[in-house]
């Protein structure tokens, strides 16, 4: 375990050299329409991301549907090719590498998927599934593939006897363990986990989260976790990046972000999380965002959050706020950030809102781009 995974409040001080760096990472999906199928526009799924992932740390990408976090994850693993920008792994530019040139990357970067049902071939045994990476990369293991696979199964809390079983014989949590075993086969350096626990029952979620943390310590893994559950993210991450409509709006160390969120969207997200405590609901006044996330085809101009933001002013519609450091290790893209002077809200949760927009029961969900 590296120092950076320790739950210390000042993780940015101890952060190691970057394993992964993205600069202006962008993915636009073209939209074709009309008689000649001309490109008439683009879904701006991811637009100009800049961040680094240090060796041994866990960086989480959070945001709601359409924010581009899954697309980002797929670019980081080079399952899809970025439209623009730079993607560097261990200092090497892999943005547009060919399939052949990507082979080493495929060993070093692995992915864990959300759906433990859909990502395992139902016709293959667990042994075949977990052993596939060895065969694909033509790797001879010391003790033979079968033995190595059985070791992996034990590592993730399954039994070596499960080697010849099929995925449908396992519960959801066990299937996710199979997926984790497969991703570990080639001893990767980076694992991109896309909603690794959100399909699992509460009691099983904790088992898998603990397993992922143990494996990180044991193999010195670096994680990029893509998730929407802010509680899970806080538990797992060293640093957290908040995305909205393809943009990074805030990135900070975990404790810094959760005690002193600066972007209005981050505060709104945190305030929307239901908390298992009945006292909270009477005391708590929440920030209620109205409406849905706008379309990434025609995102709002300048600050993309301006259509739902209660602090938005004219400048938010005309000038895009840059992502700048407002505190050590804490970057925010906002003209009017919250908590700018370092007075964190007490305690982790925001009990006092800036404003409330929920008095009108009929919240509007119109499409601001129409």
């Amino acid at each position: 375990m590296t120092a950076s995974t320790a739950p210390s409040p000042d993780t940015d001080v101890t952060r190691g050299e970057p394993l992964l760096r993205v600069t202006n990472l962008t993915k636009h999906f073209p939209i074709r329409r009309g008689l000649l199928q001309r490109t008439v526009g683009a879904v701006q799924a991811v637009d100009g991301l800049n961040f680094e992932v240090a060796k041994g740390e866990t960086l989480s990408l959070v945001g709601e549907s359409g924010c581009g976090k899954t697309t980002t994850g797929r670019m980081l693993t080079r399952l899809i090719e970025p439209t623009d920008g730079l993607l560097e792994f261990e200092g090497k530019d892999v943005t547009h590498s060919s399939m052949r040139a990507l082979r080493p990357l495929r060993r070093d970067v692995q992915m864990i998927f959300q759906d433990p049902y859909g990502s395992l071939n139902p016709r293959h045994t667990v042994g075949t599934i977990v052993g596939a990476p060895f065969k694909l990369q033509n790797i001879k293991t010391e003790k033979g593939i079968k033995r190595s696979v059985q070791d992996l199964l034990e590592l993730v809390g399954l039994s070596p006897e499960h080697y010849n079983r099929y995925p449908h014989e396992f519960s959801g949590g066990q299937r996710q363990r199979i997926g984790i075993a497969r991703s570990l086969a080639l001893r990767p350096k980076l694992i991109v986990a896309d909603e690794p626990v959100s399909a699992l029952d509460v009691s099983i979620q904790a088992q898998v989260i603990n397993l992922l943390e143990d494996l990180q310590d044991e193999f010195d893994l670096t994680y990029v976790v893509i998730a929407h559950d802010l509680s899970v993210v806080r538990h797992m991450s060293d640093r957290v990046a908040v995305m909205y409509l393809g943009k990074l709006v805030e990135i900070a160390d975990r404790d810094e972000l959760y005690t002193r969120p600066m972007h209005p969207y981050t505060t709104a997200l945190m305030s929307a999380v239901p908390v298992p405590d009945t006292n909270r609901r009477t005391k708590r006044e929440r920030i209620r965002l109205t409406g849905d996330v706008p379309s990434p085809i025609n995102p709002p101009p300048a600050c993309r959050f301006n259509t739902r933001c209660w602090k938005a002013q004219e400048v938010c519609r005309t000038v895009e706020p840059p992502l700048v450091a407002m505190a050590p290790g804490h970057q925010v893209a906002c003209h009017f950030p919250e908590n700018p002077d370092g007075a964190p809200a007490e305690p982790a949760l925001l009990d006092t809102p800036r404003t409330r927009a929920d008095d009108a029961p009929a919240t509007r969900e119109d499409d601001p781009t129409a």
């Binding site: 739950p7 709601e64 549907s65 519960s171 959801g172 949590g173 066990q174 029952d201 509460v202 009691s203 099983i204 979620q205 904790a206 088992q207 989260i209 603990n210 943390e213 929407h228 802010l230 509680s231 899970v232 806080r234 538990h235 975990r254 404790d255 959760y258 709104a268 997200l269 945190m270 305030s271 929307a272 999380v273 239901p274 908390v275 298992p276 405590d277 009945t278 006292n279 909270r280 609901r281 009477t282 929440r286 209620r288 965002l289 109205t290 409406g291 849905d292 996330v293 305690p347 982790a348 949760l349 929920d358 029961p361 009929a362 919240t363 509007r364 969900e365 119109d366």
Partner: protein
Amino acid sequence: MSQPSPSPSSPAGPPSGSSADGTPAENAPAEKRSRRRREAPPSTGLDGIGGLGAAAPDTFLSVRDLRVHFPTDDGVVKSVDGISFDLARGKTLGIVGESGSGKSVTSMSIMGLHKPGTVTMTGSIRLGSEELIGAGSETVRELRGKRMAMIFQDPLSAMHPFYTVGHQIVEAYKMHNDVSTSVAKKHAVEMLDRVGIPQASSRVDDYPHQFSGGMRQRAMIAMALSCDPDLLIADEPTTALDVTVQAQILDLIRDLQSEFNSAVIIITHDLGVVAELSDDIMVMYAGRAVEYATAADVFERPEHPYTWGLLSSMPRLDRARTDRLRPIPGSPPSLINVPSGCPFHPRCAYADRTGGLSQSQRPPLDEKAPGHYAACHLTPEQRTEIWENDIRPTL
């Protein structure tokens, strides 16, 4: 919000809790707060194992010893195996459990939506003055949509893709009201407007796929409430939604409940969601209720080891971050071979402290404290000790 503070509602005993009802209850009528819930002593209940007796006078929905079994080739799947609860108008019951705990099967049984012939249902479900179990399918059908309505997890797949949103509401309204299509359409627009759909009079002619996820769930709610039902069942109503939209929908359900004064059952795996909405909570495990109490009791003084496990296994935003989560070991049991005794005993850290009772005898759902029911063999002293020393400090 129908209840400004956690008030002792349905399962609470005599109005001992009304003092806890600190804030003045503007919305709750006085007689609601002072009602008593149970005349008969626990042992004479309809149900041999659940401690609930006869329903309180203001109870609107009363379920007693409900068992829902599905015969299959592999054996009988006991999806629901003897649960009982009460619910009054204007109140919300949260049913919490993991997949396979029987929470959705329970709601489908109340609605009479199980396919006839595939299921055996015993016990009693009383809706108002009607007994639903054993009632004719036509009788239950006429109650569906009119007196009891339901909203589902995924509003996209729950709406017919080929019909406009308005058509689907009109269809529900006309089924139970003898009105012309134009009147029904007007009503549909009003309902859409009420649930917060902008430009309802034009959006009424949109198809479900033209709505966003949040708007679809709003439209589902409009459809469910179109006939002003007395009971609304919401089965994981926000699981498929984003967190900011989830908050909007939960607010909407709360507002509408106080407006329509209906009884609400909210079924979810998310303890946060039930904490937001529920007056009472029933925790289900392997087809049985393991704990049943007011929401405040369940979160502040939980009595069952499974509830303890759920609370300690989830990361919480409202507490300091812990280094390590404390999961419940193992996974939920098969409903064909439910473990003997307490179904939770193979996963329970304290099952060895009951002198073998947990392994051999099914614990009844007893009243452990006034209005607080739990199915556990641990003695009150053991539970207090474990809760105070082992569990509470770690939450």
